[in-house]
């Protein structure tokens, strides 16, 4: 890290988005979830990965929005896409057909085996909190080559066992993908505002591999609902570079203006 970068001010949210963006490799085909994943994926496209192919479940193939969509089907996505297909075609030919390298998802809850819950908190018949539901995630998580997940750290979000598995990570016992034909690798990294986690290669339990600058192990432990493990060779996530922050802030400012517009 060079001295002038060290002195940059950035928020934990920006740290998370920049780190998530960096996970995408130029040329990858990425099925993008709305919200944080969309922000990260478009930042990647506007920085190191100009040829990343972004696909949204609304049917927009290879889209290059100038502002972030509020919904998964904003007009901007279609207008800047290579082409737009029907939603059945999107899920059948492009996702299930194996054309997606990485699915990029957010979630409400995640557990130690990277299972995602976006269905509800509490009991299904008498929910404490009703969440939006599965959307595209259940099949993105199994039909994409691999899955990146990004969400903010908190003990309510990072729980030992999700109340409901909406979307498979590695199952209740870490073996949920074993022997399943034509299934993707599943979650290969989880990026929060505190750290980066990867599944342990043997147990599939999420393990911290990198702490964001200034974050301590205790911070992560406190914000995680299970006794989270740390990799032997724990790294420090590189801080955002000035250019990344500038482009991210520009993107968010344009988005803010556009959405307030009408």
């Amino acid at each position: 890290m060079s001295p002038e970068e060290k002195t940059l001010d950035y928020t934990a949210g920006e740290m998370m988005t920049v780190t998530a963006a960096r996970a995408l490799v130029n040329g990858m085909t990425c099925f993008v979830g709305i919200g944080l994943p969309s922000e990260a994926a478009n930042l990647a496209r506007l920085t190191h990965a100009p040829d990343v192919v972004l696909i949204y479940e609304s049917g927009t193939l290879q889209t290059k929005p100038d502002v972030l969509p509020l919904s998964i089907g904003d007009g901007e996505l279609c207008e800047s896409a290579l082409t737009t297909v029907s939603v059945p075609e999107m899920f059948r030919y492009w996702l299930q057909g194996g054309k997606v390298d990485v699915g990029f998802l957010g979630t409400a809850q995640i557990d130690r085996f990277a299972n995602l819950n976006t269905t509800l908190i509490g009991d299904y018949q008498a929910p404490k909190v009703r969440l939006p539901g599965g959307g595209g995630a259940p099949e993105i998580a199994t039909n994409a080559g691999e899955v990146f997940i990004t969400l903010k750290h908190s003990p309510r979000a990072f729980v030992r066992d999700v109340d409901f598995i909406t979307t498979l990570g590695f199952g209740r016992d870490g073996k949920g993908r074993d022997g399943v034909p034509s299934i993707g690798q599943g979650p290969t990294r989880v990026i929060s505002d505190l750290c980066v986690m990867k599944p342990d290669s043997a147990t599939k339990e999420l393990t911290v591999v990198s702490l964001h600058p200034g974050v301590t192990r205790a911070d992560v432990v406190e914000a995680t609902g299970w006794a989270i493990r740390f990799a032997d060779e724990l790294e420090i996530t590189p801080a955002p570079r000035g250019e990344e922050l500038e482009i991210l802030r520009g993107l968010k400012a344009r988005t803010e203006r556009a959405h307030a517009g009408q």
Partner: protein, 272 residues
């Protein structure tokens, strides 16, 4: 053969109490005007099908029209919850509703299968998800060639489907352009269909492989200018993202919601 009717008459003729209704439009071209006409006409006991209930079903649910909702993602996109949906599910206001939930992939395939006249859709889906535990309409079959276990869901075959589109010609042929979602599938899968359009034109003026639904596959066409607002119509007007944000406060409170419906739906003439 499509008949050109007023929105009032189209809804009055084809949407009956107790009907299974799909009102589609994936973020784009959501048939809000038609949804509000159903509220005005006081339809009850509807089974509402939609991948993303969105504000349109939040309004219908809050107004007491629905007894059941079949969906795959029930949020206010980019904003948060659908408070009327949640209030009905969590607290039973204004009535308890039943929900049946799927994933997007399954619902998209179910619409496709409905359009294709099949009783079921087959997909590589729900692997490891607990949705099959709470939805008895998700089953599994074994591929007779490979032995692979695949998910099966019943196809969507509504009594009536309603979609919004950019334009129709005078013979009732409809052009849908931009994000086409499952609109065509919804129309073809239904026993009856209503298409609201921004305008009726002499000539659709389009290209050889456009998404055109022939008039003979539609029951009624109704002009509903700006009929998709606060969602949008590619080529006509943009999404009112501000209203989507404002809805959060309106829908969060039962009284605010009721007042909004009274002022913006009940006490206006509609597009009749």
């Amino acid at each position: 053969m499509a008949e050109i009717l007023s929105l009032h008459d189209a809804v009055a003729r084809y949407v009956e109490d107790g009907a299974t209704v799909a009102m589609e439009g994936f973020t784009h071209l959501i048939p809000f005007a038609a949804g509000q006409e159903i509220i005005r006409q006081g339809r009850r006991e509807l089974t509402l099908i939609r991948m993303t209930p969105d504000l349109i079903y939040d309004q219908l649910i809050g107004a007491g029209c629905a007894k059941k909702v079949i969906f795959s993602w029930g949020g206010n996109p980019g904003v948060g919850s659908l408070h009327r949906l949640r209030d009905a599910v969590e607290k039973g206001w204004p009535r308890k509703i039943e929900i049946l939930e799927h994933s997007h992939a399954a619902m998209a395939c179910a619409f496709e299968a409905g359009a294709a006249g099949l009783p079921l859709a087959v997909l590589r889906g729900y692997v490891g998800s607990e949705l099959p535990n709470v939805n008895d309409q998700i089953k599994f079959i074994d591929c007779p060639f490979t032995g692979e276990r695949l998910a099966a869901v019943p196809s969507v075959r509504p009594d009536v489907s309603i979609v919004h589109a950019q334009k129709a010609d005078r013979a009732g042929n409809v052009l849908v352009e931009g994000i086409v979602g499952v609109q065509k599938e919804a129309v073809l899968a239904a026993r009856h269909s209503i298409v609201t359009v921004e305008e009726i034109v002499d000539d659709l003026d389009t290209h050889p492989n456009a998404c055109v639904i022939p008039g003979w596959a539609i029951d009624a066409i109704a002009v509903a200018e700006k009929g998709a607002l606060p969602s949008y119509a590619h080529g006509y007007y943009a999404r009112d993202n501000r209203f989507y944000r404002e809805w959060d406060a309106i829908a969060r409170d039962r009284d605010a919601f009721t007042k909004w419906i009274d002022e913006n739906v009940m006490n206006v003439g509609g597009n009749a």
